[in-house]
């Protein structure tokens, strides 16, 4: 019986450049994991590879998610299976309103699951409740996706999408970057509300203050040169705060 999410000896490259060099990681249902590491260590690559971004090529290893071979699935199949990525730089979709976008996304999932499309009233209700909790106005839902929003607003809207779609596995890529203190709190509370024994989180961040106060992880992994070089509990963040990544990078080379 494999774990809930099991990444084994994963190798991946962008163009000709290998980024992940034998990364292994296991996450169980209901857990919150944090990935830290210096720039270029492969953090964002990992999140893109897990979601199937076609710009990244997997050259070895395996990923299983709830018993399925994730690497054989298309981007949208993975999404429909419950994987969600909160993008570090959310993409603009001119002319497409957030509510239309969410309607398409929800119905695509429901169709894949053999369920009926959500009626307009239930859809609006679902949207409104989650919008309120994250301080998102009706006007923001009518505006085109990520067009003309501040960095912080975009990130908040990523959390909003996560709340609407209710995925099983949430990857947050540098969610706290570009956000002010209040926005980080709102987003953090959004994550906390969504915690459940069936849902897991993988959070990529440099910001130990944010991680301690808002994320409260169960496990911390340190990435260097495309591999996990150290694992532990929340206390590992203290080492980072004190000594930085230098020690870990040395281990990666060795």
């Amino acid at each position: 019986m494999s774990a809930w999410l099991e990444i084994k000896d994963l190798h991946a490259k962008v163009g000709d450049k290998p980024i992940l060099n034998g990364l292994s990681l296991t996450i169980d249902a209901g857990e919150t994991h944090v990935i830290m590491g210096p720039n270029g260590s492969g953090k964002s690559t990992l999140s893109n590879v897990l979601c199937g971004n076609p710009n990244y090529e997997v050259t070895g290893g395996s990923v299983s998610f709830k018993g399925q071979n994730l690497l054989e699935m298309s981007v949208e199949e993975r999404a429909r299976a419950g994987i969600f990525l909160a993008f570090q730089s959310p993409i603009e979709l001119p002319g497409v309103s957030m509510s239309t976008f969410m309607k398409y996304a929800l119905n695509a999932r429901r169709k894949a699951a053999g369920e009926k499309e959500l009626d307009a009233v239930s859809f609006m209700k679902r949207i409104k409740v989650r919008a309120q909790a994250l301080d998102i106005t009706d006007e923001m839902l009518k505006r085109p996706v990520n067009v003309g929003f501040s960095g912080g607003e975009k990130k908040r809207l990523e959390i909003f999408q996560m709340a609407v779609l209710e995925p099983d596995f949430c990857i947050l890529d540098e969610m706290d970057s570009g956000m002010d203190v209040d926005a980080v709190k709102v987003a953090g509370s959004g994550v906390q509300i969504m915690r459940s024994p069936e849902r897991s989180f993988l959070v990529i961040s440099h910001n130990t203050k944010f991680l301690r106060e808002q994320i409260k992880p169960d496990h911390v992994h340190i990435l260097a040169r495309g591999r996990v070089v150290a694992e532990g509990g929340a206390e590992l963040m203290d080492t980072i705060d004190r000594d930085g990544f230098a020690g870990f990078i040395k281990e990666a080379v060795a």
């Binding site: 002319g95 976008f101 695509a108």
Partner: protein
């Protein structure tokens, strides 16, 4: 054998040049065009002498004209003597029931949610009873007549409102205008006539959706809309499901006259048969549409969503003659497979303080070619006239083409012309973002394209907009791997 063929062709060209006497029998004129055919059409329709003269003058002029070659489209030569100009016969290819209709087409109807009884009409099944029961015209005509609105076929208008037709026919698009308009002037057999009297606001959107299709007389349509002082009408043309039609050439004319303080909105969702995936078949849609804002404060707005035709050649235009008159053109043109579209508008500013807005969104996919062609002209007297144009092109795949060919003439220092254009593609990042949220690649493309067209779609009447959105998805099917 070869010898025989050549002489047969010679015979045809004799007919063409010298007005060979044609034996005309009963209801149907034979293939081909000459003065006798035109006399036959006119007689069959019991037309007044002036109209026959109009047709003959047009025909004689047409003989001196050449088919235009400047558009960025290519197609095999059209044999004008191989076309039926009257009572296009219910040919052997007309299906007897839906069982005989191309299953691909039926699948498309399914996707668009076209009701069953309408499918038969659209597919060209010969079932007149169905048509009659859904005729928009008959249902509302009486109600409209009470307000003095005339809404009928142009043939009826010739009989019952001859003076109005005579006054305006060819006043906006003269028969000398261009090759196809000239041909239409000689042989038009049907179309719509609308007159809105002074001070009347037409209480409903007028549409010829069913009438035209059932009679299969769309080949050389002629539409006239006259909006008298201070009146308003919204007119919907076309249908929102793909049509099966064996006709190759559609050369229609739309003439609109807008008087003082009047407003006309003309919306088209056009999806004539575009040909198959290999570019076989499909309609050549060569249409001249033009409106004259004759009065002060007149307003004319064209909105078109073009998803069909193998070849489209179409430039709905506004002649802004009245002071303060306003012209608008909102267009979405989508081409896929081997489709070719050369479409745009002309805004001719003559009066003072006239203004015009052009918003054009072109989407090319497959191996198609999509061209925006537009003219904006500021006349010497067009003081303080204003134009703004935004032309955006979106490319899907690397086998297609997108071309932007505006033409601007500024002749008045107080007038201004502003044109902006962009060309781009759907980015890999956008596709990935949408797919990460669970959308398939096709759904993502359709969503992004609809977003790209939003400014135009919003101008369509509600029920049209919903179906136009679905049409976008259907048209772009198979455009992403």
């Amino acid at each position: 054998m070869t010898q025989e063929k050549i002489s047969a062709q010679d015979a045809v060209s004799d007919t063409y040049h010298y007005g060979f006497e044609t034996q005309i029998s009963a209801e149907t004129a034979p293939k081909g065009l000459n003065e006798d055919i035109i006399r036959f059409i006119s007689a069959k329709k019991k037309e007044p002498e002036w109209l026959l003269e109009f047709r003959l003058k047009a025909y004689r002029h047409w003989l001196t004209m050449k088919e235009p070659k400047w558009a960025k489209v290519s197609y095999p030569p059209i044999d004008y003597q191989d076309i039926y100009y009257y009572a296009a016969p219910t040919s052997a290819t007309t299906p007897k029931s839906l069982d005989e209709v191309d299953p691909e087409l039926l699948k498309t109807y399914d996707k668009l949610g076209v009701p069953l009884h309408e499918r038969e009409v659209l597919a060209g099944v010969a079932v007149d009873a169905v048509f009659d029961s859904v005729s928009v015209a008959t249902t509302f005509r009486e109600k409209l007549a009470r307000q003095g609105i005339i809404f009928c076929s142009i043939s009826e208008a010739v009989q019952n409102h001859s003076d109005l037709v005579q006054k305006y026919l060819g006043s906006v698009v003269p028969y000398t205008d261009n090759f196809f308009a000239c041909l239409n002037s000689a042989v038009f057999t049907d179309g719509t006539f609308v007159y809105i009297p002074k001070g009347v606001r037409c209480p409903m959107d007028l549409s010829t959706y069913f009438r035209i299709n059932a009679k299969k007389s769309g080949q050389f349509e002629r539409t006239m809309i006259i909006a008298d002082d201070n009146s308003y009408v919204s007119y919907l043309e076309g249908c929102t499901a793909p049509q099966r039609d064996e006709n190759q050439l559609h050369a229609a004319i739309v003439e609109i006259i807008v008087m003082n303080d009047a407003e006309v909105k003309y919306s088209t969702v056009q999806n004539w048969y575009p040909g198959d995936k290999d570019g076989k078949g499909g309609i050549y849609n060569f249409v001249t549409k033009r409106g004259l804002c004759k009065g002060v404060n007149a307003k004319l707005s064209w909105t078109q969503v073009e998803t069909g035709s193998a070849v489209t050649w179409k430039y709905p235009s506004c002649v802004l003659m009245g002071d303060n008159s306003r012209g608008e053109f909102y267009s979405v043109a989508i081409t896929n497979n081997y489709q070719q579209a050369d479409t745009g508008t002309k805004m001719i500013h003559i009066g003072k303080n006239t203004s015009s807005t052009i918003v054009s969104k072109g989407i090319s996919a497959g191996k198609s070619q999509n061209t925006y062609r537009g003219l904006v002209k500021m006349g010497k007297a067009a003081d303080n006239a204003r134009n703004f144009s935004q032309c955006d092109s979106l490319l899907i795949g690397n086998q297609c083409g997108a071309h932007t060919l505006p033409y601007m003439v500024g002749g008045n220092p107080s007038a201004s012309i502003e044109h902006e254009a962009t060309t781009s593609k759907i980015s890999d990042e956008q596709l990935f973002y949408c797919r990460q949220r669970g959308l398939s690649a096709e759904e993502a493309v359709s969503l992004i394209v609809n977003g790209f067209c939003k400014d135009v779609m919003q101008k369509l009447p509600m029920e049209f907009a919903v179906e136009a959105t679905r049409l976008v998805a259907v048209t772009l099917e198979g455009s992403v791997g």
